[in-house]
Symmetry: D2
Subunit: 280 residues, 4 copies
């Protein structure tokens, strides 16, 4: 005997862009949305009964229709509005998950000033939210950033580590520290200023990354998390994943050249992987 | 006050390839390995104390060193051997996670026969395993496949679904059904023939996909899971994620042409997303 | 004073899929098409005069409309049919370029036999054609394959090379030879059996790659080109680009282990790059 | 009879990063280099004679060794220094091609000011150079940028175009204009200030893109090219490739909603492709 276990379905990679006009100044946002539903859908799997299946194509339409009337600027509020609509519309939907990623479009700088209606993609990072709500529960919101690609050329060492018979690494007192960080933070309540909190956390994380006298990725990651929590009382925990994107010192000794931390070989793989949650 | 929560660290995207020689015939495997550790590492985060930190570079070395002496052909046995070594070597490692992905290298077909020492990449799919073990526990093994890219041109319909005010989809009685499936299955015990089980499950899944008279992705996904469980008593549950990679019928009516399911527009985004666990 | 130089425009990444039915057996093809035009379009650049600009959206429509009525199975004949239509339709188009790439869909093997209506993606490679014709000229056709990912574990050495003061490479007498080959061949005439020629060339290239006793990538590339030309008198020249996708022997000596060509470290970058045209 | 035609070989995707220290302020650059050689290498193809083959591994070493002693900040001067070294070192190298791409690392902004030793990746674009020189000739330099991802939300229309029986596009008087531009410019002489010219051209291109009242991509592309030539007398021609990355107005009429250029559907494929050279 087999039976259906946990299941969910929905639409992924629904892309939308939006212009918000405030007189001569425009804001431009580009989002990728994923909507997943759980509920009374078992017979679609087990009995080929589609009568309760809201087509994923309709979910796509819903993404656009809700975006049209939505007044918010934040992906957090949009995600909740979209999910609330689906729960309200169909009683057999018991849980909704919405994820939104926003690309890093910025006003183009012309002669040092932001141009009103022209934009440039400012990095690979995505601003993110994962929002889910069960029908009888509250919204659970996890905001964050993916792919924040940053690097420092000073104040990073790695020494004093454990050695075993397979250790060949040499201690480093002045290495490059590069990462493509993924950060998420969970909200304890939802009547907050999401945009402002996001700006504050990201500023605090980057300020700490720059200032930190790093003894390891772990060390810096923890102090970045602490710095993030320090500026926003509204959040309970921050999770940081910081791959160590290595820049290996080029060995020029076979060519009779020294290399005083000048020339490096960047590699994408393999890479260190450090992940931790910092909480109150 | 802040404190360290859940944390782990390790090395990701460690790549290795291996030739196994049996007389004139070679086997060639290419793996990408990730090793993550949990244990008594808190002070590396909180106090910049690296004395218990096994460098991720050493983990990389360990991947290669263990692979050298490892006799197994399966990624499952290799993953456990690697993890057991690390747990045995360092008492303060309390949990180890190993993931391995194997690329789809196949013996090249020359005049219809497999060549002994030449290989061709046979698809985008990866054979996978995620293996983890706590120091005092047993191995928990989840094997699978990622990116199995398959498609059928008959026996796929989608009708009778729920309509609401935002539904614009037209019912389809003869559509293309394409997917890039991710499948995982959990083992209840580990003294089994991993290679044989893998071959049997994958054959059963593909046979069912081909034969199935699909009323929806959900319907086919469930019956594929059932078919997988039917052939291997050793496994308890299968999870399938099957994005619906749409091929939309091209609308040629503005040009005065019909289109009897002949010409389609494939799109990558957005795509349907269907996921379920089938269990005994 | 500035003036407009060479220019062209068109539509890129137009994707289409097509089912061809022969009784119970279906053929499935998936193409990505690019169409570029040259002609009397200068004033669209210099005077904002769009009156002669065929919208790229119309080119997209044309890709689908021509595909509907097209009887051929080959991308070569489709490309020419599409281009001829555009030249015939609009006298001010003076040159048309069409490129088509076809994905490696194959009938799924079930119990060793090809299933009639189910398909599996069989590799990363694309079958390609680049076809161009000036209004008063003949079609110039270059067919090929992109990303043919192949590898051999024997009969590959690299010794006796030039050494200078920066050379650190050690000679290898038994290395892995892996590549992701791009091959193109030019047709001298167009009333040929494109499908058959393609099959013959690709079989000859792979047979030679497998059999070859390689002294260098250059050496094997040349003999593969010769083998291709030998089987198809209809073509005049073959160009092969064969990046050397290195698998470096893992150095296990720090761990007290030997490594008799057993464990390797595959790297994507940097990679050797070898390119040559072989001609009659 | 077959013979060897045009051929070249070298090393691709050689990555290097470099820290330049000026007191407390660091500059950080990350480059990917390709070196290709032509010369008296025919017998390596035709006779398996490696005696004149400089290994691609040695070219990789050369990339690093030259970078160590190189004083320049520009990829143009580095490319020429690297190529000149190879030509000087080995008389049988008859032509050298060097390509360098530089990633968009920028000083991180902390509280509105650039931090001295911390960096953030500021976009997907690469600063590029393609430099080639025949032994007895002068350097031919083409600099540029790849993947400059920009977008404007006003002053873009497309009307008055040619219609044929397959045209379904509606005229647009206020559309989003997005592109990922590739631009190259050729130098007529090489004793110029490459860094300054690059900054001036890029500023001029972006200023024109923002200000332009666009009647088509062609129209804007041409005026951008003119603007680039206007600021730098040292260059003779600019080539721009500007794919039209469409943001389609979402059709909300089935849902009873209007859409006054507010919500769009961004698509990556298909996309318009416009390319032209503007010259003096």
């Amino acid at each position: 005997m087999t039976r259906l276990g946990v299941n969910r379905y929905g639409k992924s990679r629904v892309r939308l862009s939006r212009i918000t006009r405030r007189g001569d100044r425009h804001e431009f946002q580009e989002w990728t949305v994923r909507v997943l539903l759980q509920g009374e859908f078992d017979t679609s799997f087990t009995e080929a009964d589609n009568s309760k299946v809201l087509p994923t194509d309709t979910m796509k339409n819903t993404v656009y229709s809700i975006a049209r009337d939505c007044k918010t600027e934040t992906i957090e509020e949009y995600a909740m509005e979209l999910g609330d609509y689906l729960l309200a519309q169909h009683g057999h939907i018991l849980k909704v998950d919405v994820e939104v990623g926003e690309r890093a479009w910025q006003h183009m700088q012309i002669d040092g000033a932001p141009e009103n209606t022209t934009f440039k993609l400012g990095g690979p990072e995505l601003q993110t939210v994962a929002a889910n709500r069960a029908r009888d529960g509250a919204w659970k919101l996890t905001s964050g950033i993916d792919g924040l690609t940053i690097l420092k050329t000073t104040k990073s060492s790695f020494t004093g580590y454990l050695k075993d018979r397979l250790t060949t690494l040499k201690p480093a007192t002045d290495r490059i520290f590069g990462t493509s960080a993924t950060v998420t933070w969970e909200y304890g309540k939802i009547d907050v200023d999401f945009g402002n909190i996001r700006r504050q956390i990201l500023a605090a994380l980057q300020r700490e990354f720059a200032a930190h006298n790093s003894m390891s990725v772990q060390h810096t990651l923890y102090d970045m998390g602490k710095a993030g929590l320090a500026v926003v009382p509204e959040i309970e925990r921050i999770t940081l994943t910081m791959p160590n994107l290595h820049h290996l010192l080029a060995d020029l000794s076979p060519f009779g050249q020294d290399n005083p931390n000048h020339i490096f070989v960047p590699i994408d793989e393999p890479h260190g992987y450090i992940e931790a949650t910092i909480e109150r």
